[in-house]
């Protein structure tokens, strides 16, 4: 348990940097940005995998250790549970008055008859019974340990499911402009992150065309600019050459094809440009996706690369304003995310785009190293307007815009097992919190006055939900009524609970008659620093050690002399 505590703490601690520092797997552009603003610190953090915390070796080490310790704890406990479920409850202790909960009364019934009816009562309440000479032991609540084990085993299963998804699943992204389509093949996807055992031929062969995209925004009031709906109408073929189907993709309603889910995760504008180069040839004609840099108004930035332009390659860096308006400080900016007044302003470059160097280039940034900025006065273009480039470099015309959506495509075979594990874990957790394992003992002996003295004793371990006292009191009441018992001599209905490990430790079987703490007695007083984890040798914490006996108890005749009041107290809790 101590190991588990330390590892849990390390796990929590190790997760913190993952939420504070930008993460490669979540927001790569933020990592790039971090590199730019912290040029000396970033490489060090990178060496420590701090931009990739959740797949870092040290993070894996912690959770693997945790799960190893969990497995090492759960397996023996499962065997012990199976063992104890087959064994009978232990013998009743000789002095029930020393148990956390106890009661004594006398009846006119013969001892055997009294025990018979006690056994009947307990059996009727689904206790497991063990009868001996003059006593009955009863035990109940094995489901508690079952729930506990189920919870921990389900956590192991959850980890395996996550691993399963990571190995056999894949994730992909695709930016899709309205009117375009793609097939689910690695070459046709923008980002493709396959699991370790996924080969390109494993990809489900569907294809998708984006027919239209509609975004609605709040047009007035305090929530101005806030999106209300995104609808992406698409047609798709589940199989190559198969029938065409239609689907309107919205957030929260993914398209599921062949166990692969397609999600709508973003959208933006793609201005359409036509570039005529210096030789009069059309070197580019089509939409170019711009990336929103301002989410509320969808001010977007992008670049147009025209590598085929002659005599120079051309490049443009642009800003797209869906609803351009002059702001109070005289600047042109977008005031609304919808396309009320779309404008593009461009900065033009000519020279070498650097696309032949062999190094992969982002389509969203311009490498200006080999480029020369052309002296063009920046001017917001509306649809149909052109800019004639100086030095005979050509012309660029802004023709209008199209919208694009970004799609996430995921295949995760571990999903269902993970869900099942999660539900099992929750069920186990609730079970282990609700059920308490408890033992009730009954002894009946002939008393000196001819009557029969019946004593009851009970204890519960980890009575998390409470209520054992009430149960014991109820049992006592019922049995007493059944026996027509009279003259209660001693009763102790305190907190019939012994703190300790989650279950009765069956190594104690046979001597567990008396709760561990009672047998350890005063020796523990000097032994507070003991760190033993088993219930047996465990000192009660200071606040759980009442200085005096918990009840006004009448000692039964065979009760041994108590040297220290603490021996009577047992432990409270839970």
């Amino acid at each position: 348990m101590r190991t588990a505590l330390i590892l849990l703490f390390l796990l929590a601690l190790a997760s913190v940097p993952g939420s504070v520092l930008p993460q490669e797997g979540i927001d790569p552009s933020a990592v790039t940005q971090y590199y730019q603003s912290h040029p000396s610190l970033a490489p060090i953090l990178d060496r420590l995998s701090l931009f990739n915390v959740f797949s870092a070796p040290w993070f894996a080490a912690i959770y693997l250790l945790l799960f190893a310790s969990l497995a090492g704890c759960v397996l023996p406990r499962t065997f012990r549970l199976v063992g104890s479920a087959r064994q009978k409850p232990p013998r009743a202790p000789s002095n029930l008055g020393r148990l956390p909960a106890s009661a004594t009364y006398t009846t006119d019934l013969a001892p055997a008859a009294a025990l018979d009816s006690a056994a009947g009562l307990l059996a009727g309440r689904r206790f497991r019974l063990h009868r001996g000479d003059g006593w009955v032991s009863a035990e109940k609540g094995y489901l508690r340990e079952v729930g506990n084990l189920l919870f921990h085993i389900a956590l192991l299963a959850l980890l395996l499911s996550v691993g399963l998804g990571g190995v056999f699943g894949y994730k992909a992204n695709r930016l899709l402009i309205v009117g375009q389509g793609f097939a689910n093949t690695p070459t046709d996807l923008d980002v493709f992150r396959p699991g370790r055992l996924v080969s390109p031929s494993d990809l489900q062969p569907f294809s998708i065309n984006l027919l239209s995209f509609r975004a609605e925004y709040v047009t007035s009031g305090p929530q101005l600019d806030q999106p209300i709906t995104y609808d992406a109408a698409m047609s798709y073929r589940p199989q190559l050459g198969g029938p065409v189907k239609h689907y309107v993709l919205t957030v929260n309603h993914p398209l599921v094809v062949d166990n692969v889910s397609v999600y709508l995760i973003g959208h933006g504008y793609a201005p359409i440009f036509k570039v005529t180069d210096g030789t009069g040839k059309v070197a580019w004609d089509g939409p170019v996706p711009f990336i929103p840099v301002q989410q509320t108004t969808l001010t977007s930035e992008g670049v147009v690369k025209v590598p085929d332009a002659q005599p120079y390659q051309l490049g443009f860096a642009g800003v797209f304003l869906p609803s351009a308006a002059v702001s109070a400080n005289g600047q042109l900016e977008s005031v609304f995310p919808g396309p009320l007044n779309p404008r593009v302003s461009l900065v033009a470059f000519k020279g070498n785009l650097g696309m032949n160097s062999g190094e992969p280039q982002s389509v969203y940034t311009l490498d200006t190293g080999g480029l020369k900025r052309l002296p063009v006065a920046p001017r917001p273009l509306s649809a149909g307007q052109s800019v004639k480039l100086p030095e005979g470099a050509g012309t660029i015309t802004y023709l209008g815009y199209q919208q694009w959506v970004s799609l996430a495509i995921t295949y995760d075979p571990g999903q269902l097992p993970a869900l099942a594990s999660g539900i099992a874990a929750l069920a186990g957790l609730i079970l282990s919190f609700l059920v308490r394992r408890r033992r009730v003992f009954v002894r009946a002996v002939s008393g000196p006055d001819g009557g029969t003295q019946v004593s009851l004793g009970g204890l519960a371990r980890s009575d998390a939900a409470g209520g054992f006292d009430a149960e014991f009191a109820e049992l006592t009441r019922l049995l007493r009524a059944e026996h027509d018992g009279r003259s209660v001599q001693a009763s102790r209905i305190g907190d019939g609970t012994v703190d300790g490990p989650d279950d009765f430790d069956d190594r104690e079987r046979g001597r567990l008659a008396v709760p561990a703490a009672l047998t350890v007695a005063a020796a523990t007083a000097t032994d507070q620093a003991s760190t033993g984890e088993s219930g047996a040798g465990e000192p009660p914490p200071p606040e759980a050690r009442p200085a005096v006996s918990r009840t006004a108890e009448t000692a039964t005749p065979e009760a041994p002399a108590v040297a220290n009041p603490e021996t009577l107290t047992g432990r409270e809790e839970e």
Partner: protein, 377 residues
């Protein structure tokens, strides 16, 4: 559908009235501490308080209370019992012999659970009744404020930070009321309402967001499942954290008194039960809250899978809900580990709550992620 602004304004008014009622209730709870005398409360933390009232009298903690301030182990158990019950389960000096007679009978003669009249689960005393009445009226207005907000917006009324705080503070007060009645934990009123009033005040002033529609990402029935579970769990955790704080304070005060050191706050803690009862109450709140939190995280994962294409992606909010879960799991393990029960476990409990609060407030305000719905940008 457009927002019904009249109804939304009405909701704001209701929430403000709620805040005022809670503040008044706080004053009354404080007056109860100041003026009420010799009320035998049994803050036993027992679930079956009504039925098990006599057992409450025999709770070991009560005995501890009597001996709490360092009196030597009493030779006669009944003596200790008398002293303890006299102060009605409240903590205090052993020298509080003023009412020593009162409880003696109750403890020494419990022949069976049915022999004693059960202590009432309802509040007693003018100030306490008034305080509890104000709390209950306040929570009715609070629920109405949330309902009208939802009706005004035609949606689940916890779609942004303002609404979320309004909802979980309401849950915290509901937990307070339930604990007051079930566990007779009326002494918690003042201490739970304090953070609730502060949070509602901040909510109404700095965090206020006008009523409106939900962004597409939140338009799912999962908001009713995931966010509701989180609200319930947070309400329980708030209560648990307050109890734990009180546990640590009373425990400290008691240990100081036991060591013969002065404790300036002992006069306040005199109105509370002994630390071990508080400890158990806080544990119970986690026993309730932890499965709900677990369920909430799982529901969130399922929703994330619907909305974002993965059930777990280490988004900052997810990461911190995981950290919170782990720290509360640590608390549960600490409770079953030798040498960690009591104060150390209580500190872990508070650490878990700190993580939770950072998740609720810090992540919304300072860290950008997929959960940036606070509506405060």
């Amino acid at each position: 559908m457009p927002v019904n602004t009249t109804l939304a304004d009405f909701s704001n008014g209701l929430l403000l009235s709620t805040l005022i009622l809670y503040a008044l209730a706080m004053l009354c709870y404080a007056s109860d501490f100041a003026f009420a005398r010799h009320r035998v409360i049994a803050g036993t933390g027992e679930a079956d308080a009504g039925a098990a009232a006599p057992e409450a009298a025999a709770m070991p903690e009560l005995v501890t209370a009597g001996a709490g301030s360092g009196s030597a182990p009493a030779s006669g158990a009944s003596q200790a019992g008398a002293a303890s019950l006299a102060i009605g389960g409240r903590q205090g000096s052993a020298g509080a012999g003023t009412a020593a007679v009162a409880g003696a009978a109750g403890l020494t003669s419990h022949g069976g659970p049915s022999d004693n009249a059960p202590a009432s689960r309802w509040p007693s005393g003018f100030w306490l009744r008034l305080a509890f009445g104000l709390t209950c009226t306040g929570v009715v207005l609070h629920v109405l404020a949330i309902l009208t907000r939802g009706l005004a917006e035609h949606r689940v009324p916890w779609g942004n930070m303002y609404e979320f705080i309004g909802a979980f503070t309401c849950m915290a007060v509901l937990v307070l009321i339930a604990a007051s009645v079930w566990y007779r934990a009326y002494y918690m009123g003042l201490f739970v309402l304090l953070p609730v009033v502060l949070a509602l005040g901040i909510d109404l002033t700095w965090i206020y967001t006008p009523a409106g529609a939900l962004v597409p990402a939140l338009q799912s029935y999962w908001i009713a499942i995931h966010v509701t579970a989180m609200i319930v769990a947070i309400g329980l955790f708030i209560f648990g954290a307050v109890v734990t704080t009180l546990y640590l304070l009373t425990d400290r005060s008691q240990r100081r008194l036991a060591a013969g050191l002065p404790s300036w706050s002992a006069g306040i803690w005199r109105h509370l039960p002994v630390p071990s009862i508080l400890d158990r109450l806080s544990y119970r709140s986690v026993l309730f809250g932890f499965p709900v939190w677990t369920f909430g995280v799982m529901a969130g994962a399922i929703w994330a899978d619907h909305a974002w294409g993965r059930y777990w992606g280490w988004d900052p909010k997810e990461t911190w809900s995981f950290i919170t879960w782990v720290v509360y799991a640590m608390f549960l393990h600490a409770r079953a580990t030798a040498g960690w029960r009591g104060r150390r476990a209580a500190w872990i409990h508070l650490a878990g709550f700190a993580c939770l609060m950072f998740n609720v407030i810090g992540v919304n305000l300072w860290i950008t992620g997929l959960h940036s719905y606070a509506g405060m940008s």
